[in-house]
């Protein structure tokens, strides 16, 4: 919810005050933030003591639990939107 409010504040500032000439700087800011988020996710994973043993023991089953819902979800959305304009 906080995220949504912050984004709405950003939208408001974008409409009222923000100029398109800063778009490039804004994009770089997005890339930096994204890298920080992913780096931090990796660090919290790597810091788990059982990380390597978990990956090797439960890796294949976990992969199935990731890939099957992805395929089903993409298929469902594709069937519902194949005639939509984007």
């Amino acid at each position: 919810m906080t995220i949504l409010i912050i984004m709405c504040v950003g939208v408001f500032i974008g409409i009222k005050f923000f100029s398109k000439k800063y778009a490039k700087a804004n994009y770089i800011l997005q890339v930096v933030c994204t890298c920080v988020l992913i780096f931090s996710m990796g660090a919290s994973l790597g810091a788990r003591e059982e990380f390597l043993s978990e990956i090797s023991a439960l890796g294949l089953d976990s992969l199935i639990f990731a890939v099957v819902p992805i395929i089903f979800s993409v298929l469902a959305v594709y069937l519902l939107t194949k005639n939509q304009k984007q």
Partner: protein, 199 residues
């Protein structure tokens, strides 16, 4: 961007394993929370600067609600197939796929409800869902359509996978993506509790 993301991930795992102490990792968690806020503010400004986006979003109509409903239903149903493929009980399997990519919450919830093994599996599989989504968004956006690029990301389409949506789809699709992420995220705790109690 994909390579930068991969490099950040591997760098993070390496530092988590060999460089950082537990306090560093905790601090990084706080930093990443603020990084997410800054990212969302920045994305908001991009959207606000693009004035045509709101009229375009209106033209999307009810599809904005159909997409998260379809992703949620498909993910829940896929849990039954996963149970058959892995030998995990139907209840735990459906709970894991109901995580919709939100690995931290699903991992914690299922550790509590079904024990450490299922909790870890929920954590890993939803994390993998997020990672695979991250790197498949460019391909899906190119070969299927922009709506389909939201599908693998599910609950993560409002934060971690959002930058890929921004880069490889359109700005109005970014708004659809955020709405999808908010609705899917709201559904995750409800679904996990519901299926754990009902199945």
């Amino acid at each position: 961007m994909v390579w930068l993301a991969l490099l950040s991930l591997l760098g993070g795992v390496f530092c988590g394993m060999f460089v950082f102490s537990a306090e560093h990792v905790e601090l990084l968690g706080v930093i990443s929370e603020y990084a997410l806020y800054i990212l969302m503010f920045s994305v908001g400004m991009s959207i606000g600067t693009n004035k045509e986006i709101f009229s375009k979003l209106r033209s999307f109509g009810k599809i904005v609600l159909i997409i998260p409903a379809a992703i949620t239903a498909a993910s829940v149903l896929s849990g039954f197939l996963c149970a058959f493929l892995t030998g995990v009980s139907v209840r735990d399997s459906v709970c894991i796929t109901s995580g919709l990519g939100w690995y931290s919450l699903t991992g914690v919830m299922l550790t509590d409800l079904s024990g450490a093994t299922i909790g870890t599996m929920a954590f890993l599989s939803n994390l993998l869902r997020e990672m695979i989504s991250f790197f498949s968004i460019p391909l899906i956006a190119k070969h299927l359509n922009y709506y389909c690029a939201i599908a693998p990301a599910a609950a993560t389409s409002e934060d971690t996978t959002l930058p890929m949506m921004i880069k490889y789809t359109s700005e109005e699709m970014t708004v659809v993506s955020v709405i999808n992420g908010v609705l899917c995220s709201a559904a995750v705790p409800v679904l996990v509790n519901f299926f754990h109690a009902m199945l």
